[in-house]
Amino acid sequence: MTNLKRRTFIRAAGAAAALGTLGFPSLVLGAARRVVVVGGGVGGCTAAKYLRKLDPSIAVTLIESKPAYTSCFMSNEVLSGERTLQSLTFGYDGLRRHGIEVLQDTVVGIDPERRWIQTAGGRGFDYDACVVSPGIGFKWGAIEGYDEQVANEAIPHAWNAGPQTQLLRNQIESMPEGGHVIIVAPADPFKCPPGPYERASQIAHYCKHHKPRAKITILDAKDAFSKQALYIEGWTKLYGYGTDNSLIQWVGAAGGGAVEALDPSTRTLTGLVEEFQGDVVNIIPPQKAGAIAFAADLVDDGDWCPVDKRTFESSRHKGIYVLGDASSAATMPKSAYAANSQAKVAAAAIVAGFQGKAPDDPTFVNTCYSVVGEDFGISVAAVYRLNAETNTIESIPGSGGVSPANASPEIRKREVSYAHSWFKNVINDMME
């Protein structure tokens, strides 16, 4: 028996004595359910908060390796200088005020049979249900010459917000007047489908004012991308897209945009057709579920974790719920709002399960804003339901979609302000 298990037992025995039910400690233990949440991003935080909101008797422990959360959504605005990384960083005290134990540690193993979690710090936890929301990992080796060390030191991916976001910002600021920025965008599926294009937009927004002779090239492994028509409308209006002086150039797969190799010393990328050389290179590598999802055997033979779409319980191991980017939840995108929405469905399903009830039919929403530039915001929205027969999530016919084409300047401007309010509300809903 580990220290923790002993402590739990002693606490339970004490409570049993106080209630005069000594001899039936299991009854008391049964009343105080424990959920352990692995990962302090949008999915994990939202699940922790809503579990306590739905049933304050549940003991919730959230384990996260970083001392604070830094939001990836809105982090493209750090690249333009419109906001600081600090403005995206939030501590976990809000969750603690909800009675959630937040532990800075790394989960190294989950035993689904014993319902037991092991951390790198040497601690162990029993659980009645476990929520795994680790976000993404990167498929190093997909682009020859690009590895974790190169990403940390020279060619940032900046696809998890943090020091690499700042590194990329610094590189853009210090590049020559007529510098060339290259963004390498991956094939689907990946976290934040409109993100690479908002990134190009935000860098263009900075260059327009500070380095107007600069060029930004997106080398894409795809032939189409999220909100494409709206981005092109914005780029045409703001950055001269389609002209010889365009700040932004997009090279799709058919045009030779897929990148095979990087030479970090010269910042040269090898495409199928030609080579590209940049003053600043940002590679967004192909992605997969975060490391713990693999360690805990939650991934199928692909890159992501299959789940029951009614509850987000793992299809591979009972009692473990996989949320957010790591889950295989098509047609929902890998986005903050999607993770927030999935977390509430999982929390409600866990609580229903503890009460011996069947889970309700789920409902999901995704809303995602992109800021293309000054007074030019665009969005995508979808409301989803379960198709129980096929275990798929489907968009409700006739609803959702992207901002209208050629909307008035007033509407585009409002969507920027909505983008910033959306950011505040998502953060608030997950951690305050």
Binding site: D360, P362, A381, V383, G400, S403, Y418, H420, S421
Partner: protein, 202 residues
């Protein structure tokens, strides 16, 4: 344990009744679909937890009058109200679901957050409100059957008034006459004054 026992005995007790209900296809038998609470939880990413928004452009909807909620959502659903995104979202919901969401938000406590306002304008707005608005937006615009103005986010109120004045939103009965009169009396500062007055109630 006790709950389960009770449920079981209830099930036994009403078994025949339920069967009868099913056979008659009464509405009680078709209670599938997400709960009103689950539907309402999905709104929080934009409108704040339980509808108390912390983002100044998104209106707080906690404590909202249920009929105002349903009317607004139906207007969005039918593209009858100027929208950026709500029209796309509203189309996903049935009338019954809108009602359930309306009741959820109506029963939430409205939490207000401080916002910066111009005290002089707010004072002017208070006088304008008393003269032109109080009759419908009672008690300084507290939540009621004419919506929530008191403490509402000022950028959102500005958007709303812009829409009314630019002919992009249908005026409720008598409102145009009253707003015209307020503008007649106070000129261009009338709308900012009213917005600052509502924003000053925190």
């Amino acid at each position: 344990m006790e709950n389960m026992k009770r449920e079981k005995s209830i099930h036994k007790g009403v078994g025949h009744l339920l069967f009868a209900a099913l056979a008659l296809a009464l509405p009680v038998a078709v209670a599938a679909g997400p709960s009103g609470q689950a539907l309402s939880f999905t709104c929080a990413g934009c409108h704040g937890t339980d509808g108390s928004s912390v983002g100044p452009s998104m209106p707080a909807i906690a404590g909202m009058d249920p009929e105002v909620f349903v009317d607004a959502m139906q207007a969005y659903r039918q593209d009858e109200r100027n929208a950026t995104i709500m029209n796309r979202i509203a189309k996903a919901y049935t009338d019954e679901q809108l009602k359930e969401m309306a009741w959820f938000f109506a029963s939430q406590r409205l939490r207000l957050f401080p916002q910066t306002y111009d005290a002089a304008l707010a004072e002017q707005g208070a006088r304008l409100h008393d003269e032109y608005c109080e009759k419908c937006h009672e008690k300084g615009g507290q939540p009621g059957d004419a919506g929530t103005l008191a403490g509402q986010w000022m950028p959102y109120l500005h958007f709303t008034m812009e829409d009314f004045l630019n002919g992009k939103r249908t005026w409720p009965r008598k409102m145009k006459r009253k707003v015209d009169a307020a503008i007649e009396a106070s000129g261009d500062t009338a709308i900012p004054a009213l917005v600052n007055y509502y924003g000053s109630q925190q």
